[in-house]
Amino acid sequence: MGRVRALLGTTAVRLSALYLVLFAICAVALVFYVTALSDRMLREETQRSVADELRAISTVYRGAGVAGLVRVIDRRSRRPGANLYIIAAPAGDIIAGNVAAIQPGVIDAEGWTTVPFKYQRFGDANEGEHFALAQIIFLPNGMRLLVGRDIGEPEQIRGLVRQALVLALAIMFVGAVAIWYFVGRRALKRIDHLSEASKKIMAGDLSQRLPMGGSGDEFDRLSLSLNSMLDRIGKLNEGLRQVSDNIAHDLKTPLTRLRNRAEAALVGKHDESGYRKTLEEMIAESDQLIGTFNALLMISRVEAGSMVAEMSEVDLSRLACDATELYEPLAEEAGVLLTHEIAAGVKVKGNRELLAQSLSNLIDNAIKYVDGGDPATIVVKVTGGPGGVELSVSDNGPGIPESRREDVVKRFVRLDASRTKPGTGLGLSLVDAVAHLHSGWLELSATDAHNSAMPGLTATIHLPGGA
């Protein structure tokens, strides 16, 4: 019972029911139209043959008068057929013809009868009624002539047509119900499969995917898009898991350090300036922790793509000039030559803040790790074309060995194992995430691959062109 109800509830069934109703309405309309049409044709046929008869009879009447008329009617009445003939006296009594009785009043009006009338033939008094159409003419002497034709035969034809149509309709209805049942059941089965699979996914098995029929129908398309949604969710989930792992690994260490420092200060004996120094160190340490934490949050938000707001036209050339100018004094102080080759008017659609921060991270990294170049030089470059936009920072320092280039983009990975330089190990991860958010990518390569001692590093953010 529940199954039937479920079946009736499917979209396929509802749609086919709607079609069926529409079709039935059309079919009934067709039946009426066909019947009305055949009715008219048959009536016209009747009228034509009656008119032919009258023409023949009136020729005889004009030649031989009433006597001839009676003779010819008499003769014709004896022939078998569907024709009716009556000659009646002015009072209405039947004088000659092949009709035993006629519906009263029919013979009192001249011209075509508007509706079929009842009559009885000789010899079939008990056989019920016949219907006919006729033309009545009043002769100059007051006598009446009726010539008509039985319409039993047309009625029969009409009945047949109607029957055939009803039968056809019934067959179609049965067919529709059958198709309806199978289509609906098939749809139901597919949906059952889908919901079964999604129940498994809901239960926590995110590796499950929805089944595909392979026919590429709407169910497959639905499964396909749900599956890619699941892929995306899986990736986000993975990212989230990674972040919590990272937090566990890389935030616990400094937190422990912080705690130890507080504990050491508590148990040790210090003068006021000693305490102050410890507190200052602890503040610096927590600042660093907070910085790391913020950077982590930012990366996962950018990676999740939730920061899609505020994408606007960004003048990349201007942004690069500003960033270069911001870091130029710092570079100079570090003894690094910071130059730029920036094409004018390169624009992209993006988030200015994130792009600026990415470029800052790249320049900052370059200043930190360029040492060894002679003279240490950093070049900020912007090139733009219809094929795409490139924003790069090159240095002539020791660079990154090819085998490690993929690693350094990962969170918390720092090549400087001793970690003597300040940094969170998150800078390049953010740049990479920002590049992806802008439908681009981050490429790390050697600035001068032929110089094996100091190949340098070029970090390039490739972005789709055109703002």
């Binding site: 102050r276 507190l279 200052e280 503040i283 927590s286 600042d287 907070i290 910085g291 913020n294 949050l297 930012m298 938000r301 920061m307 707001a309 505020e310 500003d322 100018e325 911001l326 870091y327 004094p329 710092l330 100079e332 102080e333 988030n351 803040e353 994130l354 600026a356 921060q357 800052s360 900052d364 200043i367 930190k368 300040p422 940094g423 969170t424 800078g427």
Partner: protein, 253 residues
């Protein structure tokens, strides 16, 4: 999470190294803190009072809105997430009534788009938790003074240093000092807020329009370059470094 507790140090230091150029310049300022975390609120109230600022406190959105509507404050410090009524709606309701008391939004949400929504709701400044108290104090002081506004002045003067905002010329003791455009803007911002502590993040925000922390302290280098230009060869130092907070241009006059 309470903010970093370096208030005592920074306030003490400012009082020590700052002979109150303008005595009581913030003494009359009264601010309203709308913050639901009582520990944070108590800490902030104490620290602001030590800095000479009178504080009212509301611990939920409704009473905060009531106090802000009924009284006149120099600055509103509004937490973004509050019980009963959120911080942004308080600010936008006040703005809708024509109340333009400067408002600083405190929020744990610190991404670019969060800040933009905060400012669109009518906030004048946005600070992400956790923050150093020195940062909050500097921003509140500047917001509180902004009501008077120096935007209409065409010449800023500090001692014998002069900055002409129309011709973009800078002179000290009558001698022109050539500056790069960015150095000019840096000096303009410092002089506009003369007598106030200006933090590094504020400089990044107002002079470079960057709202992120560039890790390495790029700002210090810019400031020391500027300082070399405006102070080398001249007598009295005008631009002071406030430890643990930022910079301060000597008060005008």
């Amino acid at each position: 999470m309470p903010p970093m507790l370096d208030t005592a140090r920074c306030v003490a230091e400012r009082q020590a190294c700052e002979p109150r150029d303008k005595p009581g310049k913030t003494a009359h300022m009264k601010i309203l803190i709308i913050e639901d975390d009582l520990e944070t609120a108590a800490y902030l109230s104490k620290a602001f009072r030590e800095a000479g600022i009178t504080v009212d406190h509301a611990s939920d959105g409704d009473s905060g809105y009531f106090l802000a509507s009924e009284n006149s404050y120099g600055v509103l410090v509004v937490d973004r997430m509050l019980p009963k009524r959120d911080g942004l709606s308080i600010i936008s309701s006040l703005r809708a009534k024509g109340d333009d008391t400067p408002a600083l939004i405190l929020s744990a949400l610190g991404q670019v788009d969060d800040r933009v929504t905060g400012l669109r709701a009518g906030g004048d400044d946005y600070l992400t938790k956790p923050y150093a108290f020195s940062e909050l104090l500097a921003r509140v002081e500047i917001l509180g003074r902004r009501k008077g506004g120096r935007d209409t002045e065409t010449v800023y003067r500090v001692g014998d240093l002069e900055l002409d905002r129309l011709s973009h010329e800078v002179r000290r003791a009558g001698q022109p000092i050539p500056l790069q455009p960015r150095e000019y803007r840096l000096l303009e911002y410092l002089m506009k807020n003369a007598g106030q502590v200006v933090t590094r993040t504020m400089l990044l925000e107002h002079v470079w329009d960057y709202h992120f922390d560039p890790q390495t302290n790029v700002i210090d280098v810019h400031v020391s370059r500027l300082r070399a230009k405006i102070e080398k060869d001249f007598g009295e130092p005008l631009l002071r470094t406030i430890r643990g907070a930022g910079y301060m241009m000597k008060a005008e006059g």
